[in-house]
Symmetry: C2
Subunit: 470 residues, 2 copies
């Protein structure tokens, strides 16, 4: 088995992907579910504490700056994830905190600062899932009439991340002198303007915040189009992805790692984390029963309208008990979420699903891999993908929350630990430490060590002279 | 004495305006100060708890999306205040949480949601100090080459607030049905797109967040130019202001109230809250000594450069021991912070200050009124302005933190309470309740009550039919 850091055996990573009362679209209709939990901080605090008790690497929230889909269908409306995760930082001490935010409708200065602030207040636990946001609804919430083209969105995302990194590196480590006697707080020569001039993004000044504990908040990427994989290869520490089959997942991982190597990075420094939807039962039959119970609560008309929207076809062309129509547009014609579109179409074609069956599969976890079975069976499935090189860990999408996460922590995590596949305690305090990834060195640390040859007292003296001469 | 709410006597409001280790620019050089406190969550948690122990209405943070001034001079770099206040919400239960954010470089959809999220997670304690951000440095951090003109910034601010209010009102109270049996989460007919089309701001869709506990987060305005006062008159629940003399403050309050009345509002519904810098001592002489000790720690060259920048004059024209030059530009020629410019020039002219003396006055609290004296003297000064109609309360700017806030809570608050001028316990849980201001009614509640005549069951039935027909 390959190893990441020498002597220690390679172990897998687990993120708790949280969504109100669960990823299954009908979870809110169960008797156990509080349909108002999506705005209830206590609900999320319980989830974060549960995930931390299970030694998860992080909790993670998806996001989009638009009200999407039908509010009749399922709990709609979500707290800003950077605000929610800050509130969760206060009741946890170790677990990572990953929020989704778009590069298409934010500004690098504001967003880089917000994530650096979360990294500061959480003691180095912030992560940013970088998305480009593929809906017309979002574009129209930000004064645009049309969704910017896919390639334009990804070009902006790359510039946005370049600018964000320069902002996070504005302050050299050690720029703060705090010299009370001399009256010199920081060394102006060690605080650098971002001075970033791109085609989509321009940022002049230094960030108004010294470097955060992780140097750069951890970067996650979740799009699986060619543009998305290239962005991940250049910038991402982790990739959240959706694959249904082992060969697909192995090929995807190999593809991303090859692109990372081509971009000059260590291909093992990008962690591949597919989503899984565990539906647990004492027996496999009980798990299947639970799955069927949930699927029976789906209102097919809601889901059919959503599917028609995603596939860009009139809703009346989707007959519930027939396969998808044969003449769907190709991925090239889609300016929205390309990889999600392809995933859905391929799933339906490969398994020859009717629209109703497809809706059931998507309703459970939006196309992520469902693992219905006993804790042993679920642990086996995770282990086989991990050992086959298809995954460095998993984004765990409990269909029902909190119970699905509680069951996973109580029954699956101990099995993974017993097999030596998962940590038995946190060994670090930051998200980068949980993932086994280093703090990115500051550019000043990558240069030749001449600066270090200058004693601090001399440097401070120089600063004072500069001040007096100013 | 006038009253706000019938039987209860009118009492004053206190906000704790927090800034790292204090508002005095040299506070960080005191032996007692931790120069790294500006990034230390525990420091701010202690301040917020202290202010809550003192029954303050709120804690408040200024902000600008730029690194301004000289990093050598004083602690530089600040956490994003919406993130910081969320972290403080977690360790407090009553005190209001007011963050500054700019309408010039944010988008209404994102920022309205962020403040609504803070309002949700804090149980109705969020406030937003609306600013238009007057520096070229900020403009250049957001891709602009020039500072947008003053009038343009205020025109955008008004549209931004109109759009934000429409977003906060997207969801009618009661839009969430949570009807598990019928499988209907919310009533689409009671969720409304913002549909705001302005000259500077366009927002199409509904906010992806139901209405927050305060309906609208409390709105604060802090600019004192004509445009600023007009914005306050139309939108603000409270005005943070800076006046040095009682006649100025009375005139300012009367002016804002007259503008509010002209805008069709109850003039008493806008609270006027001037900043005060309390320098406390056991005797007046001790307080003066403390003030002198702090002023002696100012490095005049830092301050002279900053002053030259604010006044738009070459630094060599400011001789430390002479008055300001006579030929300064008029306020009309300034596109930046007009009212702050005028305040500084008028202070220097009125009191015939040398540049060095002016620097001392500004160093203590950026031109806010300094009250150096015993707790009795400070309480007297607050009472006289309150009773003269110059203030509904005060923005308390401790020169040194935490000690200045601790002393105020221990020694000044009890005096104000004994005089019947300040609450002896929190009677509400939201910031609007502390300020005695109602939740803004939703537009659907302001219309004729026909909607209420429709029984809920009928309404839910209609929704189900609409869903089935969709």
């Amino acid at each position: 088995m390959s190893t990441t850091g020498g002597a220690a055996p390679r172990t897998l990573h687990l993120n708790a992907f949280l969504l109100n009362v669960g990823h299954h679209e009908a979870a809110w209709r169960l008797p156990e579910s509080d349909p108002h939990a999506h705005l209830d901080l206590a609900h999320y605090q319980h989830l974060a504490r549960t995930a931390e008790r299970g030694l998860f690497d992080s909790v993670f929230f998806a996001d989009s700056p638009a009200l999407l889909g039908d509010v009749a269908r399922r709990p709609a409306g979500t707290l800003d994830p950077t605000i929610l995760l800050t509130a969760l930082a206060a009741v946890t001490t170790r677990i990572g905190l990953i929020a989704t935010a778009t590069t298409t409708y934010n500004s690098p200065y504001e967003l880089a600062r917000r994530f650096a602030s979360l990294d500061h207040v959480s003691g180095g636990r912030a992560g940013w899932n970088v998305v480009t946001t593929a809906t017309l609804e979002a574009a129209r919430n930000f004064g645009l009439d049309e969704l910017p083209a896919h390639a334009e969105r990804y070009a902006r995302a790359a510039e946005f991340l370049d600018a964000a990194r320069r902002l996070w590196d504005s302050w050299e480590p050690g720029a703060v002198l705090a010299d009370k006697a001399a009256g010199v707080f920081a060394d102006p020569a060690r605080v650098h303007p971002a001075a970033f001039e791109g085609r989509h993004v321009r940022v002049a000044g230094a960030l108004n915040l010294p470097r955060s504990p992780q140097g750069h908040p951890l970067l996650v990427q979740a799009g699986s189009s060619g543009d998305g994989k290239d962005l991940a290869a250049r910038y991402a520490d982790a990739v959240f992805t959706a694959q249904q089959t082992l060969p697909e997942a192995v090929a995807f991982a190999a593809d991303v790692r090859a692109r990372a190597a081509a971009a000059g990075r260590d291909p093992r420094s990008v962690l591949l984390l597919p989503g899984v939807v565990p539906v647990l039962g004492g027996t496999e039959a009980q798990a299947r029963e639970r799955e069927a119970e949930l699927d029976a609560l789906i209102v097919p008309e809601h889901a059919r309208r959503q599917l028609a929207q995603t596939l860009r076809v009139p809703v009346e062309e989707l007959a519930l008990d027939r396969p998808l129509p044969p003449d769907l547009p190709g991925e090239d014609e889609i300016e929205g979420a390309k990889s999600r579109y392809t995933l859905i179409v391929e799933l339906a074609r490969r398994e020859d699903l009717t629209v109703r069956e497809l809706i059931g599969r998507l309703g459970g976890g939006r196309g992520h891999r469902t693992l219905a079975g006993t804790p042993e069976q679920v642990a086996d499935a995770l282990q086989s993908w991990f050992e086959a090189g298809a995954a460095d860990g998993f984004n765990v999408m409990a269909p029902v929350l909190p119970s699905g996460l509680e069951e996973f922590v109580e029954h699956v995590v101990p099995l993974l630990q017993r097999r030596g596949l998962f940590r038995t305690e946190y060994t670090g305090t930051t998200l980068r430490e949980h993932y086994g990834l280093p703090v990115p060195p500051h550019p000043s640390e990558r240069r030749a060590g001449t600066r270090d040859a200058v004693p601090e007292a001399v440097r401070a003296g120089r600063v004072r002279e500069a001040v007096a001469a100013g």
